[in-house]
């Protein structure tokens, strides 16, 4: 079928039950484009009914798969993500091992909470024209061999699917949602339906790529078309990926809401009786984008904060990289206190905030909303493999968090600007990384990181710092141009790490392997220090020497030390007490270098990276050294420290004596 009316197409397929329709539609009703944007590999048609009391879902899924691999396919793996929420699963084993999550309601890690049980059970599995294969489904464990993990299931069709051929799967499944865990499930009367349907793996680099669900990994899927009918209670307000194409109120007190999505690779939805809805429009260069905000009533006063940062981020992404091509974007303010905050799905993101949070603290909602919107580009359109290359989506997105937030709120206050305290997004990202800088390289597979903390620090914070530091080598504008070309070249595809790195090298015209080998593929740590400065009178040996400013001649030495094993060229600025400033360049190849001067002036200070471009340096305090001590900064902190401890002591004595 070349094109069909959306509803007609859906109804025809669902009504036929035979899956006779086997052409992936080339609909464009959900995008601001006259033609499809991606190579559409899949077409999911799902008819689902959600039981809000039992937190279960029963559905029928018809998946049409087009074989673009160029070779016959005789196996098909499917993700059953919800099966990860079972005690013996790989996901749970890893969560228990790391025990770094579980801050939210219903997540008592370490330990098992029965409310966290989730399951996705295939009740029947049929390949159209090839028969029922339910009994032949086999769970596989490609990553760790854990026989108890049921998050990937595989089927072998009796007849391989030929190149450029299509196959249609008809799957009946039953979901049990967990109390929200890793941004899927229920909390009170709220539900976020994410990773909720059997999803086929991706044929990538000549093989199936269908990893088990791990504690720290995210997702990977092919582009295509989604037609989804959700039946939920009538009192629920529903939001989902794609555009809403119909609502039917059923006599049994339910409603059936239908959504259609073009050129997306996942589908998420949410329902809650409490949402307050606000709709707005953003004018992208391709056409209007309908913004749908589903807000918690207690957060209604923060609606403008959400809208402001969302529109500003969309504006910058559009200008810097390329237009947002979808017709809708749904921003969900999830159930307060739940673990459903801060997650990205195509055309659908969750934010997260608290009614108490003051305007100057921008971690929530501004940072979260901006970050999740950024994922529409780095994950949504440039659909990298989140299992294997987390830094390509989370890290590039974190770098862009800095650029966008700095652009909106100013570099010094883009994260915090409240009650005299300030903080910039760039240093926030850096702080994230400097605590655990050397356990894992960026290029490590997501589930092989030392732990969840290292995964986060490296994938997010280190990548942002690597790219910010890269600006010092090729320039901010060049890196932005490289990002733009990377986006335009690889949107609606699945690029790998070398695609990104080669694009940067190509656009900058520089061989950056020496940098990427250390920063991306290595675990080298960058730390330069001003080891020592000294100014000694040339006539130091004379008796009764009287030093006079501007008269006495000094030999001044500045020692620079490369403390760690990351080699990086640096600038050093030496200031003298006659006001002169000297800049030196050092390639960093040796472990240390000394700069010597003979002048009628003493060294006042020496500073590595005086323009503050090397974000990878793990310790900024030792990047400079002043000849004279200034105790004021430490005294200020000690004063705070004493105030708090005196107050604590007074409160103790207040109540106990």
């Amino acid at each position: 079928m070349a094109k069909c009316g959306l509803l007609g197409c859906l109804v025809a397929v669902l009504a036929s039950g035979s899956g006779a329709q086997t052409v992936i539609p080339s609909t464009v009703s959900a995008i601001n484009s006259p033609t499809p944007l991606s190579q559409r590999v899949v077409h999911y048609e799902i008819d689902a009914r959600y039981d809000a009391k039992a937190h279960t879902l029963d559905a029928t899924e018809i998946l049409t798969y087009h074989n673009f691999t160029g070779k016959p396919l005789d196996t098909f793996p499917f993700h059953l993500y919800l099966n990860a929420f079972q005690p013996a699963s790989t996901y749970m084993q890893e969560r228990e091992r790391d025990s770094t999550s579980g801050q939210g309601r219903g997540q008592p890690f370490p330990g098992w909470n029965p409310n966290n049980y989730g399951a996705s059970e295939i009740r029947s599995f049929e390949i159209v024209d090839q028969g029922d294969l339910t009994s032949q489904l086999q769970f596989t464990h490609p990553d760790d061999g854990n026989q108890d993990d049921r998050s990937v299931v595989q089927v072998r069709p009796p007849r391989p699917v030929p190149p450029d051929g299509e196959v249609q799967f008809k799957i009946r499944f039953h979901d049990q949602f967990p109390e929200v865990l890793d941004r899927t499930g229920w909390d009170r009367d709220f539900v976020l339906g994410a990773q909720w349907f059997p999803k086929v793996g991706v044929w990538w680099h000549g093989a199936w790529n269908c990893h088990q669900f791990h504690a720290s990994t995210e997702f990977f899927a092919d582009f295509g078309v989604y037609d989804v009918r959700l039946t939920v209670p009538q009192n629920e307000v529903v939001g989902a990926s794609g555009v809403r194409v119909g609502v039917v109120r059923n006599p049994d007190g339910t409603q059936t809401v239908t959504y259609h999505g073009d050129d997306i690779h996942d589908f998420a939805w949410t329902a809650s009786p409490h949402y307050r809805v606000h709709e707005d429009t953003f004018q992208s260069s391709l056409g209007p984008v309908r913004l749908i905000l589903l807000m918690q009533p207690a957060h209604w006063g923060q609606l403008d904060r959400h809208l402001h940062v969302l529109k500003e981020a969309m504006d910058r992404y559009g200008r810097w990289y390329g237009p947002y091509p979808y017709k809708t974007l749904t921003l969900v303010d999830p159930e307060p206190g739940s673990q459903a905050y801060g997650m990205e799905y195509p055309t659908f993101v969750t934010g997260g905030t608290s009614w108490l949070i003051p305007e100057g603290i921008r971690e929530e909602p501004e940072f979260t909303v901006e970050h999740e919107f950024g994922h529409q580009y780095w994950y949504g359109m440039v659909a990298t493999n989140e299992f294997e290359d987390a830094w390509l989506d989370e890290g590039i997105n974190s770098y862009n968090d800095v650029k966008v937030m700095d652009s909106i709120f100013g570099p010094a206050t883009s994260w915090v600007d409240w009650f005299g305290a300030t903080g910039g997004a760039s240093e926030r990202q850096r702080d994230f990384y400097i605590g655990v800088p050397d356990y894992d390289p960026l290029s490590r597979l997501g589930w092989q990181f030392r732990n969840d903390a290292s995964y986060g620090a490296i994938s997010y914070g280190k990548t942002a710092s690597v790219l910010l530091t890269l600006e010092s080598l090729i320039g901010e504008d060049t890196l932005r141009q490289a990002m733009r070309i990377y986006f335009l070249r690889y949107r609606f595809t699945h690029p790998g790490k070398e695609d990104f790195l080669k694009t940067v090298e190509e656009v900058s015209g520089k061989d950056l392997r020496w940098y990427f080998n250390q920063a991306v593929y290595g675990t080298e740590v960058l730390d330069y220090e001003v080891n020592k400065v000294s100014s000694i009178p040339v006539d130091w040996f004379k008796e009764n020497l009287r030093e006079q400013k501007g008269v006495t001649e000094y030999v001044s030495d500045v020692w620079i030390h490369r403390k760690e094993n990351f080699i990086f060229p640096i600038e050093v600025e030496i200031r003298f007490d006659d006001g002169e400033r000297v800049r030196e360049h050092w390639d960093g190849q040796d472990r240390w270098v000394r700069f010597e001067y003979k002048k009628k002036a003493r060294v006042v200070s020496a500073e590595i990276d005086p323009d503050h471009k090397i974000y990878l340096d793990r310790n900024h305090f030792n990047d400079s050294y002043t000849a004279e001590a200034n105790p004021a900064p430490a005294s200020k902190l000690v004063n705070y420290w004493m105030f708090v401890s005196q107050l604590f002591a007074q409160l103790l004595t207040w109540w106990l004596t």
Partner: protein, 304 residues
Amino acid sequence: MNLLMMGAHIASRNKRYVVWFYLLNLVFAWWGASAFSLAAHNILDHSLYAGRILHGMDVTVVTELFVNPRLGTPAAHGAPSTRLAVACLAVSFVFMPGVWLAYSSDHRISREEFFRSCGHNVWRFLRLVCLFIIIGGIVTGVLFGVQSSLVNAADRTSNERLPFLLMVAGMATIFLGATAIRAWFDLAQADVVLQDQPAIRKSLAAGFRAFRQNWAVLLRNYVVIVLAAGAILVSGILLWHAIVPPASAAGAFLISQLTLFLLLAMRFWQRATAVAFYLGQLSQTDAAEPARMPFPASALSIQQ
């Protein structure tokens, strides 16, 4: 003269104790902060990057400082400060009987009288503190339990503000309960010193009787003083923020210490108010037995 004024009068006649206890508080805190101070000066004194702490308060730089291995962990630095706060409590506890004696006296007591009272009553006060911890622990524990149950129940609803509001209401209730117990034990402490009462159960009973007879008046005055203390703390912090330049270590020290000094004075005001209240109750019940009072009769004049 109302109770608050009488208390203020007693406290102001004996303000040297506020000064001494404040100095005690300051010295112990300085001592506790010395390791942190040394480490912070080592890292920051010669660093230009530290300017971002001095000329403002860049939280990312502070965060970097606290993950710097040369500083040591916050827990390692927090431990001596915590221990010395407890030591400050212990020393305050030892010297408190002398304060009670001074507050009940109409003349400036001698150093010898002060320390004699401290030594004479220290074990009685220790027993009182143990009982305070037991009784206060049980009452506040039950109240915290109720509060926690209510907050957990509210957390099951979708009203995001309800758990917070219940927590605030619960804290206010717990505060009132704890203040009432503190007032009762303050009266018992006054009784121990003023009556030279070796049997603390009798002092507790006397304190309870005195409190029960006019509990609303004393509790109201205690709460007023706590509110004043809260206002001083908030005002001090706001002033600190508003008028002290970020780079002025001296200005910050002065205003923070003035705030802490006034805060400490509030607690002494409470104690002085308790003494005035206790003497007032005693004068009413023991009017027929003036010979029982061990303290100078002129001490009662302020209650008239």
